[in-house]
Amino acid sequence: MRWLKSIAREIYGLFVDDGSFAGAIVAWLVIFVTLQREAEGARWAGPALFAGLGAILIESVLRFARQRTK
């Protein structure tokens, strides 16, 4: 049974390492689903989705770097 728990922990760890980072990604996806419904088929949708995710990655990494140096 212990290895089953370890497997469950490993699988959770596959997706979530930093809770706020994972939360921000999910939140952006939820926001974007709503925005996308308003402007379906827009050419900017793909790049905009990527831009938001890229911004989340940048913010998370820089925040971690700042916290490390405080």
Partner: protein
């Protein structure tokens, strides 16, 4: 038109195979590092037997549950609409890939410890030697196997193997006929790492894990973004080829962030 569709299908299958191969490669390298460490200290027979037993258990589970997966109506034929599958699977792959990419950036910038195979091998071997002082007095199993080495080989293969199975299922659920290329990618990764382990017969320090994670993180993030977008109904320019620019863009961001993070301490002190 038929040729175009065939080309698109081939691109999708090819990218799925490569992505599943790269993602599985990382997991296989991690498992093999531990098996090599255990084997070199406690004996190859028991460590390899543990790994083989776990592979058999995994294969049995897949053989039992695999046919069920192919019967699940993933393409909106009945209950689950394809966009929903793409959205959920894409989000999972996105979380998975972004997590790896973030960690790879932080490691490359020196903000967290580099998970180096050589160090991992030495640490595991030392832990096993220490444990061996007490385990040496324990009787061996019925087949003369070292219980510690067998258990360590079994556990690590089971853990990493389950992750590989999960990766294959996630990639395979992305579209019709993708389970086969995803499975082939994972099997190829297993064979490559097994051959590497056999050839090197010592730590896999020559495989730069962080470089691999950089690449895999960018590719998985690109796949995740693409599938999430497809699930939302986004019309990607260039269709599946958008995965290429997405991967390049993620890699570009990551490569720019590494020197920025390295420079951060100076900026903060100023």
């Amino acid at each position: 038109m038929v040729l175009g569709l065939g080309h698109l299908e081939a691109t999708r299958m090819g990218t799925t195979l490569v992505a599943a191969f790269l993602a599985s490669l990382v997991e296989c390298v991690e498992a093999l590092t531990v098996i090599l460490a255990v084997g070199s200290v406690r004996g190859w027979r028991s460590a390899l037997a543990g790994g083989a037993a776990a592979l058999l258990v995994l294969a049995g589970t897949i053989a039992a549950l695999g046919p069920l997966l192919t019967r699940i109506p993933l393409h909106g034929l009945t209950r689950i609409p394809l966009p929903m599958v793409q959205l959920v699977v894409g989000a999972m792959i996105l979380l998975f890939g972004m997590r790896w990419l973030r960690k790879a950036i932080l490691r490359a910038a020196g903000l967290i410890a580099l998970h180096d195979e050589e160090a991992s091998f030495v640490r595991t071997a030392e832990a096993i030697r220490e444990a061996g002082a007490s385990a040496a007095h324990h009787p061996k199993g019925a087949h003369g196997l070292d219980k510690f080495a067998f258990s360590a080989g079994f556990n690590i293969t089971m853990l990493e193997g389950t992750e590989v199975v999960f990766i294959v299922i996630a990639f395979g659920a992305g579209g019709a006929g993708l389970l086969l290329p995803a499975s082939l990618g994972a099997v190829a990764a297993l064979l490559v790492v097994a051959a590497l382990g056999f050839a090197l017969h010592r730590p896999l320090a020559r495989v730069p894990e962080n470089t691999l994670k950089f690449l895999v993180g960018a590719v998985l993030s690109a796949f995740g973004t693409f599938w999430v977008g497809e699930g939302m109904g986004i019309a990607w320019q260039g269709r599946d080829l958008a995965i290429l620019w997405l991967a390049a863009a993620y890699m570009g961001i990551a490569l720019c962030l590494v020197p920025l993070c390295r420079a951060h301490p100076v900026t903060m002190e100023e």
